[in-house]
Structures are given as C-alpha cells and as structure tokens.
Amino acid sequence: MIRRLAVVALLAFMTLPTVVVVAVSFNPTAILSFPPGGFSLRWYANVLTYPQFQRAAVNSLVVTGGAVALALPIGTLAALALERGRLRGRNVWAALLLSPLVVPGVAAGLGFLILAAALGLLRSRSVLIAAHVTLVLPFVVRSVWVSVRNLDPALERAAASLGATPWRAFRRVTLPLLRPGLFAGLLFAVVVSLNEFVVSLFISNRVTEILPVAMFTYVVNYTDPTIAALSSLFIVATFLVVWLADRYLDLGRVFLQH
C-alpha cells in the first residue's frame, strides 16, 4: 500500500509540470495562472497564426530533417568503423564520437558561434544543421552500434561467397539487419534535435531560429498562455512519435537485444 502510494506520488511529481502547462494552455484569460479559470482554445489559434512561430516551425523541420539525414549515414559508418574497422586508438575515437554528451551546451554553443562568425555563416541555417548533426550523432552512433555488435561477421563473408559484391552484401544483408538500431537512432535524433535549445540559441537569429528558441523569445517578451499551448502541442507530438515507434518498431527489443 505504502509502496503503491510512493509510486503514485513519484508519478504525480514527474508529470506535474506537464499537467500545469497543459491546464494553463486552456486558460481563457491572458494570465499564466493555475488552476485555469475556464476553457478556451484561443491560445491554440494564436500559436497557429503567429507568423514567427510559423517561420520557426519551418526552420525546425528543415534543421531537424537536414541534421537527421546527415547524422544517420555518418553515424552508421562511424558505428561500423568502431566495431569492425582496423582502427588505431579505438577507445579514443569512441570517446570523441560520444563526447558531445558531456560538453556543456553553453560551451558548444559558444564554439559554434565563434566558428560561424569566422566563416561568415551566421545568417544561414546550415550552421544550425551542422551543430545539430554533432549533437545527435552520439545518439545515432550508440543505437546503431548495438545492432552492429549483434551482427555475425560471417554473414558478410557468406554473402561474398554467394557472389555478392561488398556493396551488395551491405545492401542485402548488413543494412536490413541494422534496421532496429537505425530506427532507434532516428527516433532519438529527431527528439533531441526538435527539443534542442541552448546551442541553437547562440547561433540563430530571428530569421533562422527554430521553435524552442522562438518560444523562449516569446516568453521573454509576452506572458500569455500561448506558450503553454505551443508547449502542449510539443508534448503531444513527442509523445506520439515515441508511442508510434514503440508500437510499430518494438523499441523494447532494440534496447534489450544486447
């Protein structure tokens, strides 16, 4: 009984911020008060019609799409090289590829800002894409690496003995067997990139900023429940992605198949 109460309390504690945000988003008045004094969808309408959010949503899609499209093949090759390649200093390479996880966002953001300024790229979304690639890469490498480890190296030899060129063997045998790791990596990359804020704040402007940055800017200037509405949409979207992935890609298996 006590144990069950503890679980309920923990769950309540963990979901409380989410509940507050969602509740506030339906508040009819322009104050961020809790509990809400009624029910209204006006802030949702505001989110969808606010031009800066529209622009930021497009930026988010472009940046996340571009970063993921680059990070997946790069991360896959890196994972293959780490596991299979005749690599000198394998541990150093592994540490480097996974290091963005331990570099503080502020430091990374500052680094990218200085680099972008030096290259004259501050007005371009390409800097954001490049930064996001480095931020999501560790997640992709990790996920794919698990699948690579589960591969029997004899499979590629078998494919070769059956007449498959190295490329054909990769296409017909290796890649299909890496699919679970690739999906998991893709999922992580999308979620991380869509929610990335600190680094992006350093290297974006009003034209290139992505949604989390636009939300922050909005909160700095206005204090109405619009931001709660947008946050709620974000929560729902993230939840949907994870739920669909879990349902159709069998995520549990991906993470448990060591």
């Binding site: 499979l155 078998a158 070769a160 003995s161 059956l162 007449g163 498959a164 299909p176």
Partner: protein, 348 residues
C-alpha cells in the same frame, strides 16, 4: 585438379598461421583438413575461399591464378561453422541468394531452389525463418545455399561442430550421401578424426601451419608418417628404442621387441614405434613381445577400460582392455602387456 595451393604462407600479426603450404584438390574428391585448433586448417580454407589473402604463394582454381581475386568472384560454396544464415530472409530466400546475385531468371531460381531444398529434405520449410528451425535443419539450409549455384568446390568449415553427438553422426552420413550424389569437390575442415576418417577420400593432417601427412584414411591410420599423426589419430602409444637388427628393437627396461611388416630397420638406428591402444593385449605372463608395466590409471568406458601404464624406464603405454577384464585391475598393479609384432608402426 580443381584447387591448387602453391607455397602459400599466411601471417597474422607476426604469427605464421599457414607455412609454405602445397596442396592439390582433385576433381570430385572429398578432402579433409584435419588438425587441432590453431594448426592452420581454417586459415587454409579461408585462403581458398578468398576471405584472406596469402602473405606469399599462389592459389589456382581450375588452373587459373585466383590469388588476387576477391571472394565474390571466385564462385566457391562455403558452409560456415555458425551456418551464417541470413536471419532476416526466409529459408527459400537464403537458398536463392546466390542465384539472385548471379541474375538467374526468376523461373529458373524457383526451380533450382526447389530442387536444392528437396535434396536436403527441407522442401516444406521454405517459408520459415532460419531461427525457427533446429540446428540440424539450419545446417542443411546452409548446405543447400552453398550447393544451389553449382560451385566448382564446396568448402565446409567444421559444419558439424555445433550439433550434439547423435545429430552430428546423422548429419555426417547425410553429408556424405549428398556429396556423393552431387559429385562435388569438397574441402572439409575438422578437428574430429572420426569425422575425417569416415567422410574423406583423402585426409591432410595439419600441425603448425603445414601438412604432416596427406593420404587416404586407411593409410593415415595404419601408416602414420610422424609421431604427431600417430598421436593425433588414434592417440597411440609411442615407444622410443634402438634397432638391433632389421626386425628387432631394444626398448630400455624390457626385452627386445620383434617388429614385423613395414620397412626393414637399420641396425643401430634410433626408432620410434607407435602402437594403437586397441592392439595392446593383456598377457597372462612373460613371453614374446610382452613387457611388464605398472598401472597408473584406469578409466572405465563401458565396453572397454582404458589403461594407462608405465614401463620400467618410465615410457607410457595406453591400452584398451575389453570388458569384462580377465582379472580385476587396480592402479599400482604390475601387468604383462602383449605388443603384437604386426601392430607396430615404425615412424619416420
């Protein structure tokens, strides 16, 4: 000849796995590479398959130099110890893999995959995934996959090692039957002498990267050329001695032993005599070719008991005594062992 290795050497990080190996595989034969782990037998197979390149030497298939040719252009069939079946493809697609890579027409693929699955008695399991099949069935899928595009040679890397004993014996017989019916040239890697003796037309016994002896199973078993071969095949006893005349050998701490058959001995030469444990008999007392030995260990094996004994000078003798033994045996006891003159194999 189908496959020829000429002076092939392969080093791995300074370790010589295969050392200046010469080997010829003839059309239609079943050749076994037999040896303990680390003797270079699997490396030899990988050299033929094209998975590793020789550090030195040349490899010929049908008289053509294929030394620099990658595995996918050699067109040989390989069955792996782990089977290496593609887990994401059905049994049928696994078998069809080699044909698809060769761009065989769809109808032809259909027919040949059907034939191959029938050959290994798996025609009703085509739609299943490899993981749904038993070990023996997976083994047969791997065999069908390697045979379906009619390779010049099929290379088998310890294909029976992962099966339990009974299944292994069944598969061994089946493997032989299939090889016979297809008539395909086969190179078989194993560390199991029973498998090699039962399956092969010829056996190459390997040790430390070179071939100790190459010959028919009976020849290898009855006339081992070296101490290593005598010991590895049939775990023989090897006695050291000195030839007194062409027919007699003095072994320290015992009467001279008569040696019949084989080559005549050179008087005064040091010789090594090998004798199989199943040829050693218990003798009731002293006599011709009878030595005294002290029993050190007994291992009861049901149909027989394995006796480990030592001669007066410390040389070991192993004997299989069939059960029930004529008199109870115990460790520490002194027994008389008859070593028949015609059972000795004189090692080079």
């Amino acid at each position: 000849m189908v496959v020829e290795l000429r002076g092939c050497t392969r080093d791995y990080a300074g370790v010589r796995a295969v050392d200046a190996l010469d080997l010829t595989v003839y059309e239609g034969e079943f050749l076994s590479l037999l040896g303990p782990s680390g003797c270079g037998k699997t490396t030899t197979l990988n050299l033929i398959a094209g998975f590793v390149a020789p550090t030195r030497g040349r490899i010929l298939v049908d008289g053509e130099d294929v030394t620099g040719r990658p595995a996918h252009l050699r067109g040989l069939g390989v069955v792996f110890q782990s089977y290496a079946l593609f887990p994401h493809l059905s049994v049928r697609e696994n078998v069809a893999f080699g044909l698809r890579e060769r761009r065989v027409a769809a109808a032809e693929i259909e027919r040949r995959v059907g034939d191959a699955l029938e050959l290994v008695r798996l025609d009703r399991h085509g739609r299943q995934r490899p993981a749904e099949l038993s070990g023996g069935m997976q083994q047969r899928v791997a065999l069908a996959r390697a045979l379906v595009y009619r390779p010049r040679v099929v290379l088998l890397d310890e294909p029976l090692a992962a099966l339990d004993k009974k299944l292994r014996e069944e598969m061994r017989d089946e493997l032989r039957a299939i090889q016979r019916s297809v008539g395909i040239t086969t190179v078989f890697v194993t560390h199991d002498q029973t498998e090699a003796l039962g399956l092969s037309d010829r056996i190459a016994v390997m040790s430390h990267g070179h071939i100790e002896q190459l010959g028919a199973p009976r020849e290898i078993y009855e006339h081992p050329a070296t101490r290593f071969v005598a010991d590895f095949i049939g775990a023989s006893t090897v006695l050291r001695g000195r030839a007194l005349d062409p027919e007699r050998v003095a072994v320290t701490g015992g009467p001279p032993l008569r040696v019949a058959g084989g080559r005549a001995l050179r008087a005064g030469a040091d010789v090594e005599l090998a004798i199989r444990p199943e040829r050693v008999r218990l003798a009731p007392g002293p006599g011709d070719n009878v030595v005294e030995a002290r029993i050190e260990g007994l291992v009861y094996q049901g149909a027989q008991t394995e006796v480990a004994a030592r001669l007066g000078d410390g040389q070991r003798v192993r004997a299989f005594v069939s059960e029930p033994t004529p008199a109870p045996l115990a460790a520490g006891q002194t027994v008389h062992l008859h070593l028949p003159a015609d059972a000795f194999m004189v090692l080079a």
